[in-house]
Symmetry: C3
Subunit: 243 residues, 3 copies
């Protein structure tokens, strides 16, 4: 098995730190793994003004600063928006895109275009009160995001989340072409108990098939399998990321 | 892991006795488990006249008689009709509703509203001949309900079934509100090889998403995993039933 | 467990040889297993003129020549077209039909009626150039057919494929009745990572439910689980094929 370079890109409310357990599993298999934190989710970032392009530019800059090549760029959830944009910004640094229950936008779409209306309504209300940063309510986290955890782990993991800049859900993405036309190899990891999107309006195949030809990989676990089963997720990411 | 009280509510053609193997697995994990038999499926019950409300009232009475509190009320298949009604009758005794490939009715629906027309036609004909009690034909049981068993187990388990009062499939349910509006926590266990409903008109997400916010849990096995893999089912029920 | 006779029928681009690893697993469980190569996929066959009826007649002749009775006839992919026709030609030799992510045609349909238009367009173009034989492009094979293999196995397995007679994809099938009306017992094995058909236009339940009453069995792995996990596939085929 060849040794590859992976960059794991977190979802909303997360930082790279929460992906380190999975990264360690990949490192134990011989790979080089980076877990950057996107602009917007760092302590110092302004939750009211940071947008999707800021997040994508911060990831592109990270790839440049570390001089990374032949990267398997892995995006989780909201991270799918970000890696889709970076595929336009830095294609020469990438070997493959890997979406892990992640959003796959069409040109000009925003994340909010891809979720059920009741989610958008919920976060519109929260953002109106806070002025820009949104937190996921604990009952939704516990029941729909980390449904495979016990309450202790669900609570502990929730304590690691950070307020997310809502503008990144509202900003239309700039893409030079639909992702199906992007010539990079692409994979989609689907976790079977992931109910963060309702299965009637789910991740796969609704969003995955926007990739055109792609490699489908299944994994056990919920949307937050990064916390509940890093070993299973690392095995799935390796299956998805290898040549 | 906290120790909880579970009440397992059987489906059509079953009694509580067929759930005891799974109950024993939960008891071995420290939980208290009851497996009552609903009115309509006891030897002495009149298959022609016992209806859905009788079944629900018998379950409510069982909870009262045993003074049960903080119950995780688990309904299988037809049992989903019954626990939905009992959530209206005895909400103060319940901590969570757990549906295991179970029907989730809207107010005023009957079970027959939720199954394919060919099932309704089949049972209409059987009930017309018997005057009210219906038995599941063995080929449907063997191929679509207990598809993960060998023939010996399929035959042995079939021998334990009892004639079911068809009126319970025809009676519209009385609910004070849609289940999505019921404030109790809710879970849905979906067995991946459950083909008792055709997957094009399946249990999940078609019926599960009527619960509103709910916890999705996957399990291996068929509709009759109570016979074929009680240990896997007990683990899934515990994942679904814990706080 | 009773010992049965299995005939495994390969898909397009394959011969019986590629099924031998799975056959050996079934033989180790005590079964008798044959893996014939259909007319059209043998070295000497004319890829321009061999059609679906030729393939079906060659399988019927194989059953006759070996005097096989009580056969569990297992078709993979394109092999589903062939076993459906043989169920008409030699019903008296068969105990059960088992489809493994296989096509289930209605009377008068051809295989091309059941696949996405972009597949048909692709192979129309290839066949126009070659005069009748079509090969699957390697990127589709690697990403969508054998997505659970590493690159070495994907490449090695690709080297075993043979050019397929495209006429067998274009010939309408002759069936005396829809498969749902065929009185033979039927099973459908669905591999969860099989993405050879896009999941939005997938094998199961879209094609499986054309069988009427059938036994659903799940298996791990991709469309080419014959190469990637013969033991898991053999276990699933036995679950599907037993009485």
């Amino acid at each position: 098995m060849s040794k590859n370079t992976y960059v794991l890109v977190h979802g909303a409310w997360h930082t790279g730190a929460e992906l380190e357990a999975t990264a360690d599993q990949l490192r134990a298999r011989g790979h080089t793994v980076h877990c950057p934190t996107l602009a917007g989710n760092r302590p110092e970032d302004d939750r009211a003004t940071t947008g999707l392009e800021d997040a994508a530019q911060s990831l592109a800059a990270f790839l440049d600063q570390h001089g990374l090549e032949q990267v398997r760029l892995v995006g989780h959830s909201y991270g799918g928006m970000v890696i889709s944009r970076v595929a336009d910004l830095r294609p020469q640094r990438l070997a493959r895109l890997v979406y892990v229950n992640a959003f796959v936008p069409q040109p000009g779409e925003c994340l909010n275009d891809l979720v059920p209306p009741h989610y958008t309504a919920l976060f519109d209300n929260i953002a109106a009160e806070t002025g820009g940063g949104v937190m996921l309510p604990f009952p939704i986290w516990r029941e729909a995001f980390i449904n495979d955890a016990d309450l202790a782990l669900a609570t502990e993991a929730f304590g690691k989340l950070n307020t997310h800049p809502y503008k990144t859900f509202q900003d239309p993405i700039t893409l030079s072409q639909p992702m199906a036309a992007c010539p990079l190899p692409k994979s989609y990891v689907n976790c079977r108990m992931d109910a963060a999107l309702p299965h009637s309006l789910g991740w796969h195949p609704r969003l995955s098939e926007r990739l055109g030809l792609f490699r489908h990989v299944e994994c056990s676990g919920s949307h937050e399998v990064w916390f509940t089963d890093p070993a299973a997720l690392a095995a799935a990411i390796e299956q998805a990321g290898r040549d």
